[in-house]
């Protein structure tokens, strides 16, 4: 039987002062031996038989010079243990392998430590960076791709259509400065920007606190430390570095490129067996705009232009509504609409809403109107619209998180990610593949469920399983009387109801 709890509160009273349940009638009087010590178990037993108020009166009659509330004893003991913990030495560092904690995971790794005196969880990610060309010129004078994306393939095609004598100059911008490339400080810039972008994106986003009784004022803020250093060969990566970073040089303002994380030797390779492939431009904000879609309207009408109907429908399919009961925030949409006047802009906004509804059932409550002034254009912005820095996203994989953007197959809109169940077990439900401003989708926002591996790592390194999301809380000692676990409430059918 599912039992429910109903707490009735008198407005304006603090919780401890409120009469939470009515005292059951016709209970036998409580008559323990005068002056006898009452254990917590004895108090609980008395409450079950006689009720909370009766036990409160009983305890109030105990000689004040010798009686100590058993809950007060428990409080004092817990606080002493808590104080000892807070004054104790730092826990860790130790290595966290996401694949050993989440059955769906097969990548990532970092070190974790917890400093009780600072109430700080430290996450350290170390990488060995191998600087590689994006394009080389082979012995026959033809350009060959080292970077494997469609964008570089297009550049290769462009170079190989040049006269052979012109090709080396075009390929030069795909070389690091140490190999003759034109950007003098590019390797240092890469290392500095990698560190700063990952640290600034991920640090101090969501506090944790301990949920052990009377330890709720112990907190944990997350600090991120990224240590990346150049190596001359892949074999030079040390055993303490979690990843080899293959950094392919591309020209400034390059758009796109391959970025991925894997464990080439398999899941069993562990937290230090990762390879990250990125380009030299992946340490700065993307030059393309993944969170915006441009549309146009039929001149003089309140209707979308035919090509824009497809744009809106495709976007709608990529932005499924949250599943019922989901606790994770789902990105909204801002529709900036132009028109001849306010009436036409309103008509056009209604058309956008209509196509979002038809195309993917997007809940209109997720969409916000923005007046774009006069004209026939519009722009749809997903979430906060902030551009992503790719290494911040890829480092999310190192922190044990899957992609959340959409694609074919397992990446279909609304499908579960490889961290969905793991996050749900920590109370963050509804993670899915969707076009979003989340850092693991197309944006830069680190949401609470992206901290799920940090939360788990905190439990591991502190050897305390009772941690959860949220800022630390005030802890008050129990009052000397009346603040006890409450007895079952008896309903009309005689069933007891558990009190949470």
């Amino acid at each position: 039987m599912i039992r429910t709890v109903e707490r009735k509160r008198a407005p304006g009273l603090a919780e401890r002062e409120r009469p939470l349940v009515a005292e059951p009638p016709a209970r036998p009087p409580v008559q323990p031996a005068r002056g006898a010590a009452l254990s917590a178990a004895a108090v609980a037993g008395l409450q079950a038989r006689a009720g909370n108020a009766a036990v409160s009166r009983l305890l109030a009659r105990q000689p004040t010079a010798t009686a100590v509330s058993p809950l007060r004893e428990a409080y004092d003991k817990a606080r002493a243990e808590r104080d000892t913990f807070v004054k104790s030495a730092k826990r860790g560092p130790q290595t966290y392998d996401p694949a050993k904690r989440n059955a769906d995971n097969y990548y990532g790794g970092f070190d974790v430590e917890y400093d009780p005196s600072k109430e700080e969880i430290g996450i350290t990610l170390r990488g060995a960076v191998l600087f590689l060309p994006g394009i080389t010129i082979d012995d026959t004078g033809r350009a060959q791709a080292a970077e494997t994306s469609a964008q570089t393939a297009a550049a290769i095609d462009k170079i190989n259509k040049m006269a052979a004598i012109d090709r080396p100059a075009a390929a030069l911008q795909w070389q690091w400065a140490t190999a003759g490339g034109p950007d003098a400080t590019d390797e240092k810039d890469f290392l500095d920007n990698f560190k700063s972008s990952v640290e600034s994106t991920w640090r101090k986003q969501h506090p944790f606190h301990c949920t052990r009784q009377y330890w709720e004022d112990v907190g944990a803020t997350t600090e991120i430390k990224v240590e990346v250093a150049k190596v001359d060969a892949a074999a030079d990566k040390t055993g303490a570095q979690h990843m080899l970073v293959n950094a392919h040089k591309v020209p400034k303002h390059f758009v796109g490129g391959d970025a991925d994380v894997s464990r080439p030797a398999g899941k069993a390779a562990g937290a230090f067996g990762n390879v990250m492939n990125v380009t030299s431009e992946d340490v700065v904000e993307r030059h393309d705009d993944m969170l915006r879609r441009n549309v146009s309207f039929q001149h003089g009408k309140g209707l979308l232009a035919p090509p824009s109907v497809g744009t809106v429908w495709r976007l709608a399919k990529e932005m499924p509504n949250p599943k019922p009961g989901a606790t994770i925030e789902t990105a909204g949409l801002t529709a900036r609409v132009q028109g001849r006047d306010a009436d036409q802009r309103a008509d056009r906004y209604a058309a956008v809403l209509d196509h979002l509804k038809q195309g993917g059932g997007v809940d209109p409550a997720r969409v916000k109107f923005e007046d774009g002034g006069e004209g026939d254009r519009g722009q749809l912005t997903i979430g906060d619209g902030k551009r992503q820095t790719v290494v911040a996203h890829e480092s999310g994989h190192m922190f044990g998180l899957d992609d959340e953007y959409t694609g074919a197959g397992a990446y279909g809109p609304g499908k579960k990610t490889e961290h969905t169940d793991f996050a749900a077990a920590a109370g963050q439900t509804g993670a899915m593949h969707a076009a979003s401003d989340s850092v693991m989708s197309g944006g830069s926002k680190v949401r609470p469920h992206h901290y799920v591996t940090f939360l788990d790592a905190l439990k591991v390194v502190s050897d305390i399983p009772e941690w959860t999301y949220g800022a630390k809380q005030a802890v008050n000692p129990p009052s000397d009387a009346g603040d006890f676990p409450l007895p079952p409430k008896i309903d009309a059918d005689g069933n007891g109801t558990a009190i949470a």
Partner: protein, 140 residues
Amino acid sequence: LPDGPEPLLLERRVETGSDAFVQRITADGGLWTQSTVDADFVDGEWRFGAAEPAWRQDDTLAPEDVEALRAAIRRSAFFATDAEHHPDVPVIHSSREVWTAELDGRRHTSTLHGRGTTHVPALAALADAFEAALASADRR
């Protein structure tokens, strides 16, 4: 994407996310390209952006190069390869290489996931033959 020129002999499609760069050689030796991405080198600077996908013919292979390519396709055992090749270990967010060939009345497509990580001998042989054909056209 628009339909490609026919009859097809061999096509390599590099896909990164929703972007694609495609090179196709037709049975008569036509060398065609199509791309959703643009890379341009102007006044010593690279410029990148999106491109409207449309097929354009860049060159025509010599008949002997077409015959060499046909022979290489037959030798590669491409038509016996699986339709999908995944890396030994999952790779988060990598490019794909989609090969399609038509020869001797058969047409087959095989997708290499995790480009640069996954190695399939039959597809590597096709890539070598494809590059040799392009290099030969380049030398003429």
